[in-house]
Amino acid sequence: MKGEIETLVALALLFTLLSFLSVGGAISAMPEIHRQAVDLHHWMSDREFVDLVAIAQAAPGPNVLFVTLIGQHVAGVPGALVATVFMCGPACVVAFFIARAFDRFRDRPWRAAIQAGLVPVSIGLICATALIIARSANHDWKTFAVTAATFAVTYWTRISPLYALGAATAVGLAGLL
């Protein structure tokens, strides 16, 4: 029981920090969650982490909810709720109080500078996310081919990525990977 409480506290601390650090969306925080959950706390294997990210990509809802799956896998339903509340909660409180004050600093130059400055950092973070997931999901030429095909469909066509995810899952279920 004591161990469970400690795990929930660790989840709460991790996601409170990430609630403030996830510039440019929740996907930016994925490498840090991977570092902590897999390398630091040994809550799950590398493969389990990638499985959960993949399931979250295939499910409806905001990207941020992959933290719900992470929390669920680490500490059951309480873990899922703690991860979700602490990832979204601090940011919600900030948004709540800034919502009506924003008009006062909307046109200040420092506002534009902060916003412009966050863009390249968040791009670097999302590229890091792509690298970490691709490294774990690709272990031979067949999985690499699936990754390349999904990239091509998503990047060069207007076909919904959902079809690519479905097709790749079907290829896997057929035992071809």
Partner: protein, 203 residues
């Protein structure tokens, strides 16, 4: 915030800034607020924002394109998930705490329940050979999806030859993705540098 003041005029909430100039805009009720966010969250695969723009601006006419862009800029400026911020801010502006709650519960409630169900199924059956095979394919495809997102975002920096910003992105990528340094440390160094560069370049 001024939730008390809002509750006295539930039928006519404070209109968003440009509503007076756009009489064809619709001001949602609390129930519609919940349903609108519920709809975008359940149809939003791989991110909800694109669906939010179409639903709120075109289908439901809750806001003008300019208002949406303005709101979105604020959400990007704030820490945390953008779409969660958007639900809170739009909800607060209309109905105070109750508006924020209606929008947030509509956005997060249903998919969180789905995720918990999916997580339970994964914990129980994830090691079965059939699931393993399917997940191997799904994970490889998810990686392709994330690479596409990353390339789409990085493209403007390369195309417009923003070499300083590109350098910031590459250093951040290397520190986090290759060296796997702690995110807090990296951001404490890179964000001030990047903001200073943006400040210096403004004109």
């Amino acid at each position: 915030m001024s939730d008390g003041a809002d509750s006295s005029s539930l039928a006519r909430p404070r209109p968003p800034s440009a509503a007076a100039a756009h009489p064809d805009l619709v001001i949602p009720t609390l129930g519609e607020l919940f349903l609108g966010f519920f709809k975008i969250t359940m149809s939003g695969f791989g991110g909800v924002l694109a669906f939010a723009r179409r639903e709120f601006v075109i289908t439901r006419r809750w806001m003008t394109p300019d208002e949406f862009n303005d709101l979105f800029a604020l959400c990007q400026f704030l820490p945390g998930p953008n779409i969660v911020n958007l639900s809170i801010i739009y909800g607060v502006r209309l109905y105070g705490v109750r508006g924020a709650a209606a929008a947030l519960v509509g956005l997060l409630g249903p998919p969180v329940l789905l995720m918990i169900g999916a997580g339970m199924a994964y914990t129980r059956y994830g090691e079965l050979p059939l699931f393993r095979n399917g997940l191997t394919g799904l994970a490889a495809a998810a990686a392709g999806l994330l690479i596409a997102t990353a390339v789409q975002m990085a493209e403007p920096l390369v195309r417009k030859e923003r070499s300083l910003q590109l350098a910031v992105a590459i250093v951040t990528f290397a520190a986090i993705g290759v060296l796997e340094w702690p995110m807090l440390t990296v951001l404490l160094v890179m964000v001030p540098i990047s903001v200073a560069l943006a400040w210096w370049r403004r004109a």
